[in-house]
Subunit: 277 residues, 2 copies
Amino acid sequence: MEPQAAARSVFYVSDGTGITAETLGHSLLTQFEGVRFKQARIPFVDTPEKAHAVIRRIEDAGRSDGARPIVFTTLVNPELAQMVHAADALCLSFIETFVAPMEAELGVQSTHTVGRSHGSIDTSDYKNRIEAINYTLAHDDGVTDRDLETADVILVGVSRCGKTPTSLYLAMQFGLKAANFPLIPEDFDRGRLPGSLEKHRGKLFGLTIQPERLAQIREERRPNSRYASLENCRNEVREAEKMMKREGIRWLDSSTKSIEEISTTVMQEVRLDNRVF
Amino acid sequence: MEPQAAARSVFYVSDGTGITAETLGHSLLTQFEGVRFKQARIPFVDTPEKAHAVIRRIEDAGRSDGARPIVFTTLVNPELAQMVHAADALCLSFIETFVAPMEAELGVQSTHTVGRSHGSIDTSDYKNRIEAINYTLAHDDGVTDRDLETADVILVGVSRCGKTPTSLYLAMQFGLKAANFPLIPEDFDRGRLPGSLEKHRGKLFGLTIQPERLAQIREERRPNSRYASLENCRNEVREAEKMMKREGIRWLDSSTKSIEEISTTVMQEVRLDNRVF
């Protein structure tokens, strides 16, 4: 057996939460197959003292790995960014790298202000997000048909096809009021959508799922039940798709998609938001 | 009055959802005060045809603005990235820019694979996230004290101090099982934590809030109620803080913090996850 190479240390360093640095850094790491990484996110690095402590950690890791760590930063403060850049590591800065070309393009100096992306809680954006989360929780799983006229989107589909996580993501990330309604055997027997949805047809979006995957998900919640049986799942999915087709509801198969991908597709299809085209 | 400069068009272009490009691009834009931007996210650009359509949109916007658009991309496919880069715009690539220095550092070629960051739904990460969301929804607002031993963190605090959005974010973004319990007047009268929390003291984290802000939030939900009155909010917050201090529960004032900042601090303090230090 060949000796396995040691994992390379990766640090996400930010004066904010570091979540953006981690997300983008992570997608860069996935471009390198077969390399093992040890990752650490270090948030709120907003003083020279904290920057010194981070540099020590980075360099300690490098000595112990026998290889330079990779450091992704979203440090906005130029002094702190410069300090961390001087560490013995490959330091890649997601802010600094792009500020200079933007300054040249816009003919304006940047303000180098920390923490603007997630830091301003008094904006109407932020209030919208909290309101949307409350709305979405109150309109999960068809618990009420009150105030559906204020919904931005109403997701429909069989139980456990991904409506709740998608609704919550739309609310949390985009401040959208997302209600969701299950399509249940009673609806299929009547051959009609739940009554309160009729007049909101323009906001409806369907999720469907492969019956095999649905059975697997339901089996974890209710082992050996009829609800989870493959036969029942096949039947429900077929009936739900038939209904959506008949009612002219656009839909998406969620089986192989992440919450982010489903949410983005919903926004595109329902034209919820002029930020997405 | 001076004529106001036209808004500059900004595009977030990705072969995935474009959410990362938008988040990072947005934090770059906030570095430029006084410049107005019109933003559009264009997801799923994964064929040359779609890239051509995007280029037309970018260049149309530039002509209509009378200024080059700014384009932030996370395109992974080098062919598509090159096409978009040739558009008449300032094109800043969050992937391409960093792949080359990483290849040099690691001594490995990148795989240029699309959509890895949000695209792999069969990983255990993804399953954890969905499980965590389900757990968090089932353990919102103290509805049950079942299975608290499997919680990663239990948030406590007065009603409407931010426990629910924080719990959901911890679940959605980090796959953490986050329960939350309200601290209510009955708890203050008894002078003790809700009984079921006693044995989970190590997982408890408190949120507090400025009484003025709490009154404002509660007023929107129950106008002119005793619940929302400033006097009652002051009293509840004082009692809750007294209890958390007495019980040795770490806490944070959520008043001026975003959900992301609160969540990151909770993870740091409860040492929930070795990705955050």
